[in-house]
Symmetry: C2
Subunit: 340 residues, 2 copies
Amino acid sequence: MEQVTLKSIASELGISITTASKALKNYPDVSPKTRKAVIDLARKLNYIPNSFAVNLRTKESKVIGLIIPEIVHYFFSNVVNAIIEYAEKKGYLIITLQSNESDKLEEKQIELLLNKRVDGILISLSNNRKDLSPIHKIVESGTPLVLFDKISKLINCSKVIINDRDAAYAATEHLINTGCKDIAHFRGPLNPQNSIDRFLGYKKALEDSKLHFDKSLVYTCEKVSFEEGYNFAKELHQSNKKVDAIFAITDLVAIGAITYFNEANVKIPEDISIIGFSNWFMASVISPSLSSVDQPGYEMGKKAIKLLLKEIKAIKKGKKIKHKTIVLPTNVIKRSSTRD
Amino acid sequence: MEQVTLKSIASELGISITTASKALKNYPDVSPKTRKAVIDLARKLNYIPNSFAVNLRTKESKVIGLIIPEIVHYFFSNVVNAIIEYAEKKGYLIITLQSNESDKLEEKQIELLLNKRVDGILISLSNNRKDLSPIHKIVESGTPLVLFDKISKLINCSKVIINDRDAAYAATEHLINTGCKDIAHFRGPLNPQNSIDRFLGYKKALEDSKLHFDKSLVYTCEKVSFEEGYNFAKELHQSNKKVDAIFAITDLVAIGAITYFNEANVKIPEDISIIGFSNWFMASVISPSLSSVDQPGYEMGKKAIKLLLKEIKAIKKGKKIKHKTIVLPTNVIKRSSTRD
DNA sequence: ATTTATACCGAAATCGTTTTCGGTAAAATC
DNA sequence: GATTTTACCGAAAACGATTTCGGTATAAAT
């Protein structure tokens, strides 16, 4: 399998490597005749420029690194989808890595991407990240970086996020506006900022409406799973606590709850209203269909890669870059699991 | 941002580039003293070997290309998950691309990966692929290739698949064994081999059990969506056709049907049995829980990347490679949507 | 006829690493 | 003391493309 190079083309045509290169790259100082000859031969031999050599020379790889906690997640697979798609259109390829919520793994992966000399890096931070020095290292290396969804404000780079607090506030407000007074919250783990922010939004909405915040109505889903939603719904129901609504950290948790209430013949939303978070496609599909807050994964991915490519371009041109933080709007999607 | 190179290390230490390189790569002909000096300085300056130069020299990129129809799919995101994970352990990175079921796009992406000079390629073919020449091109280029799930037998390379026909046969057989006699099939589109094979398995199972195959009981889901499952269930129900079971091409379609029957107060599995395909995690979660055939995405991804890396290794050592086709076993997972 | 402009072409340096192949000094052997 | 071995080191040639800078013809201008 003999490799076709500029050298082989040049020697076949009896010209120099320089001229061959210039012919293919539309330099003006090559005659139409030789240009045609080179192009024709290149096509005939199926010449493919050696990207390793090009990379070395141009010092860019046209590859972007992407680290997310887990790809097997509707939200993240949508993000990845958008990123891959947009990047490809702009001539960039994406190397994807998953941290599995392990900060140690995340650090290794950052190292890997830096070693690969990718042109830029996109990260959604793992929940357990405390030490920010590996992230700072990226910035120091001069590699453009954009953080999204799960970010840290302490890093000096561009970011794309939603306002979890406001979104949770809106969800809770929707429950309040539709007449609910005793609202439970199935929250996420205690550490992640997302989970904290949503809890805070929930609490703030209660307070702003002069509703009593009852700590015993807050259940913590460690794994944010269907089962937890199901079991906490059962627990809540059998406890005979006075509750007329649930705000769940995630649609999956909410659907767990719905499943229990359906089985227990508790009417939704007459007896209890339920609202989820993320607007997973299953939300519109189960019955009753689930009200939710949309978390625009595709949009987020697209905005993040767009921002990153812009910074890469700017740096290449030696321009100064101003880091931006884009906050994507979220909307409460009203369906049948909450009242009118 | 001055780049740290072997050259800068060497000149700082007053030694040659060669020796610096050898010190870092554990060559025996460098004294412990200079080795230590080089290693220490390299660490101090945070030296990162220029991967572009290494690639050029070693002619390998340690990158694998992966093309799938869509990443936003539980099955495929599981495949990707496994591939990324295993590859990383073995020192390889994954560039992921999605064809969106477009053969034109798929061809461009193959071109992209070939131009990038990835060390190997993994593909799950798009449904519309007729012309196999772009795939042959990969083989001709000498790039190791492994096809999985949606493959073509006409390509001379290794493959990882399930036997859709047998799996569908087993699903239908399960319905028959549990007393069903009039079994409908919500099939997929007419083109894709997967869809055809599952239909054939269904038909064969009926014939082998001397059950009548009724063409009017076969519904074609063009988009393989929840809505189609729901609507065909409705259509079937209102048609008053005699039917006591449905085999759906996919769990999503099956869940659509279940949702309709739940609403219509048709008892599952007493009045009608339903079995899906893929063993999506939602199958165990809805009520009644859905019987299904597991389609081991994670296993498939792992086997595929393993096979590919093995071939890459073999080629590097100049060994001959024998292409393998791995057929992964599938199992009928019995849950509450079918009878005992 | 001489100068100037134009149109093409190519030598060579460069990117940073890897690896082969000699070379020199010191130590070991006879 | 002469020879061989051992232990280190480095020059230089790759890998393949890009780009600068200078060159030589030929055509145009004076």
